[in-house]
């Protein structure tokens, strides 16, 4: 066949087919593997030391074996395990409570809008800060402690709230204060996303009360329940700084939890890495089991592209406008409860506004010594420089997590990895997301001490980024996978580059990106344990707080001042972005 146009002549020449036909095969591309490299490099900061810990756990002077696990038979270790299990139970109760609050707020229009900021802001506050607030409220002297003062005024006497047994009340209050709002918010978002017509259909069939709850809400919110349970249980098992700040020295053995017991074991035998490594492995095993079980509930929606999920979550059906009577009822509940939730923060602020002397002698309600002296004392302890360094560390870690997280999440959602590899990587990230810092703290600290990198903010930021990456990847992947494939069809068919696809997906998933960035920033800002265990100093801000808190009650002024100053940034950031963060967190989990 030939075509000719003027001088040009184009000819198509056919050729005889020889040999049998072979199945077509796509060009093998190393692109996906290359895009996995940043995550692999960053995660090696955690993976290599964790591997060394596993090795140390089984390594005894006589060779490899289970000898180090004898440490578990130790009375103190058993006690710590038991206490950690009690904490897990506390976490589960909180999940139920959070659900109840969400349900109640759904049925009482007008309640949530007033209440949610009060419930949510403690989530942005460091554990060290909430522990300090509750220790101030429950101070054992009637001159300083709010609860002791009230009890003494009413009955003439008061229990010693921080004393044996009762310290649990103080710890659990602080824990609940931090987490209840988080749980309620997520459940609330889930309830809001239940399609309206479903509710009407159920109502038409006259299914009400408990039956409706068990038939509709509970099963539909399974995935969100999974996320909430996972977060809370992991927080309960990792509990460390709350015990340190709340419980006075003599009761710390009673209050011992796994993470703390690990730390004491490390201190008791600094040269023998075996027993602490064995403890870390047990801690890890518990958390990993919880995670894997919890994630079974998440797998379906998190792993499947869900065409409608994104839009539906983004435009959840708004609550019906409350009628005035309902509005009044909502306010009647919301205002007292909001005030109750704001109270610890008010105590901190009021205490901080007293001079160190006045705050050491009298409670926050005293009229003497009001002024900014406590802020001055905290600033003498290096508060402002610590604030700057912390901001630097948190910002660096956040940017690193975002950059690596977006590339990795896109790779796992759309990147064309072999199925088995993608699945394996996902499982690895789930387990890594809950890996306790004790798994890698020992070897990392050794390296940092030997190389003298321990005090450098950059090295701390890299460790934080590595610790935060798995959660970021899980969240982003869920969001990316929920993007309609049509959005990036060109990239899927190879007509556009992966960079273009990543940019497009990221734009579509802005809430998830915001959620990752905000949570990572707040987490790093508030960190105590990672910095404390790894570079020995703690992240600079917690370090100042912790240093001031050594003689707790008589330093209440500077402690409260440091707590207030360190909480401003995360609280403002979280409150400003919370609706977006919730949307980001629940993307892909919408029913």
């Amino acid at each position: 066949m030939a075509l000719s146009a003027g001088e040009l002549r184009i000819e198509v020449v056919g050729r005889e087919i020889v040999g049998r036909p072979v199945p077509g095969r796509a060009r093998r591309s190393y692109g996906p593997y290359l895009r996995g490299v940043p995550a692999l490099v960053l995660m090696s900061v955690v993976l290599v030391p964790a591997g060394l810990t596993v090795r140390a756990a089984f390594h005894t002077p006589e060779g490899y074996g289970l000898g180090n696990f004898v440490v578990l038979g130790d009375h103190a270790a058993l006690h710590a395990v038991l206490n950690s299990l009690i904490w897990v139970a506390v976490a589960l109760v909180l999940v139920v409570l959070g659900f109840a609050v969400a349900l109640a707020s759904r049925r009482t229009p007008g309640l949530w809008r007033v209440l949610s900021p009060f419930l949510v802001f403690p989530f942005a506050v460091a554990v060290l800060v909430s522990g300090a607030a509750f220790r101030i409220i429950f101070d054992p002297t009637p001159e300083r402690g709010t609860v002791t003062a009230i009890a003494t005024a009413l009955t003439g006497d008061s229990p010693v709230w921080l004393g044996p047994g009762l310290f649990w009340l103080v710890q659990v209050s602080a824990f609940a204060w931090t987490w209840l709002g988080y749980a309620a918010s997520l459940f609330r978002a889930g309830l809001g996303a239940i399609p309206d017509d479903l509710g009407r259909a159920v109502e038409a069939e006259n299914v009400r009360g408990w039956r409706r709850l068990l038939a509709v809400e509970v099963p539909l919110l399974r995935t969100i329940t999974g996320v909430v349970t996972l977060t809370l249980v992991v927080a309960a098992v990792r509990l460390f700084d709350l015990v340190l700040i709340v419980v006075p020295g003599p009761m710390q053995d009673d209050a011992d939890v796994l993470a703390l017991n690990w730390w004491h074991t490390t201190n008791a035998s600094p040269d023998d890495a075996g027993p602490p490594a064995a403890l870390a492995l047990v801690l890890f095993a518990i958390v990993a089991v919880v995670a894997v079980v919890g994630v079974r509930g998440l797998r379906r929606p998190w792993a499947m592209p869900d065409r409608g999920g994104l839009d539906r979550a983004a435009t959840a059906i708004p609550d019906p406008a409350p009628v005035p009577a309902q509005r009044r009822r909502g306010l009647a509940i919301a205002v007292p409860m909001g005030l109750l939730w704001a109270f610890p923060a008010l105590v901190l602020v009021a205490t901080a506004l007293h001079s160190p002397l006045a705050a050491g002698l009298r409670g926050w309600w005293g009229r003497a010594g009001i002024g900014f002296d406590s802020f001055g004392a905290a600033s003498n302890a290096g508060l402002w420089r610590a604030l700057l360094t912390t901001a630097l560390i948190a910002a660096t870690a956040t940017m690193l997590v975002l950059a690596v997280g977006v590339i990795t999440a896109h790779l796992l959602a759309w990147g064309g990895l072999p199925t088995w590899l993608g699945r394996a990587a996902m499982t690895a990230f789930v387990i890594l997301a809950v890996t306790p810092v004790q798994m890698y703290a020992g070897p990392l600290r050794q390296v940092f001490t030997d190389t003298g990198l321990g005090g450098s903010p950059l090295s701390l930021a890299v460790v934080h980024a590595a610790a935060g990456l798995p959660f970021a990847v899980l969240l982003l992947r869920a969001a990316f996978a929920a993007v309609p494939p049509s959005l990036i069809a060109e990239a899927v068919h190879g007509q556009a580059g992966q960079g273009w696809a990543i940019a497009r997906v990221s734009r579509a998933c802005r809430p998830a990106l915001v959620a990752v960035a905000v949570l990572e920033f707040v987490l790093v800002w508030n960190d105590f344990i990672v910095g404390f265990l790894i570079n020995g100093a703690g992240s600079p801000l917690s370090l100042v707080l912790w240093g001031e808190a050594r003689q707790f009650a008589t330093s209440a002024g500077p402690v409260a001042a440091a707590a207030v100053v360190s909480s401003v940034v995360p609280v403002v950031l979280l409150l400003a972005t919370w609706p977006t963060v919730v949307r980001g967190l629940t993307v892909g989990t919408a029913p």
């Binding site: 004393g163 004491h264 600290r445 940092f448 005090g455 100093a537 008589t554």
Partner: protein, 432 residues
Amino acid sequence: MPDRRTFLTGLAGAGVAASLAGCAGSFGVGRTVTVAVTWSGAELNAFRKVLRGLETRHYQAVPIPYGDDIDTALGSSRSRRPDVVMLPQPGLVAKNRDSLAPLPDGIWRSPEAQYDKVWESLLFHDGQPYGVPFKITHKSVVWYRKSVFGKHGLTPPTKWTEWLELNRRLVRCGETPLALGAADGWMLTDFFENVLVGCSPGSYKALTDRNRPRLADDPMVGKALRLLGRMWAEPDALAGGVNGSLVQQFTDAVVEVFGHGRAAMVVAPDFAEVEVLRFAADPGDIRVFPFPAVDGDDQDSVPASAGRPLIVGGDVAVLSADPTEDARDLVSRLAGPSAPLPWIRKAGGFLAAHRDTPTGDYSNELRKLNCDITKPPGEIQFDLSDQLGPIGGRTGLWRVLQDFLVRVGGQGSGGVPHEVDEAMKQLRELEG
């Protein structure tokens, strides 16, 4: 190691110090001499003033707070090691001699010229001094409110039996005699050590001298516990009872006595003066008496020869190996008799180790304690629990004494012997 600075021994420190050392280097103008210290808060500020008075126009002296982990200062890598370290336990000097340099000539002319002779064995090696005492801590002190004693016509006790009687009379008058900062374990070990020295200075000395001391094997430890237990077991003797004591830290106990006025006395070292002055409702009400001589009680007798206990601690300035000329110069200046004057004047709660430091600026109470150290009632003893290693710390003696307090406190003296047996058993298990 047990000390107020070590209530959380552990990992913290190396990193802080490293980062701060970095800051000191980069923020300083020109040459700096870094000084590692354990002090924080008011004491750190006071030491800053001391350094400001000593630095020259050639170099700046920068304190680096190491908190509980001052021993890591000597362990850190050479480039990050501070030039000068203020060691809170003189016993650490001998242990770390490899990373130290001998002091420049002329600081310490002859062993007994400027300092008490107890320092010699701790700080000299081959006739060379490796550290110079800066601050001395008097740990055999009872702080009390004069007004409470005056109101009931009581005078400070000089003997243990008088003290027990005084406590009973205070209880009968509706006053609480003692505030105990049991949340800080070192408050209890200090109390116990004083009773032990009072019972048997020989036993105490033997325990401090031995390489691996065993408390459980010494019957005098049991006797001291019985005496102490019967004082704590007296009903209503402790402010806040046992639970209240357990949640009180050192400064809370000071506030309990001088701020809230709920107790008459607190056993606390001389440096408590900083806090006492801060929180005292009436500064004119502050008095001290030395820890009474232990003469037994109605059930345990003690030979009269023992005398009044005097336990001290101290902070010693040492030079890191390969010191710079500036560091040597700073240590020479720190060793001068007038060096600590800014601290004494501005903050109080400081006793100078140097014999020639002018005493004119001490408060009345600290002047009494200073006399006690310069003209001791008997032999001066160094703090025991500092020298016991882990057994003297959080999981050892602190825990044993806290448990003992829980079981005997306010229960009456009947159960004390049994609880002492329990405590000794606990010690035996710990000491293996």
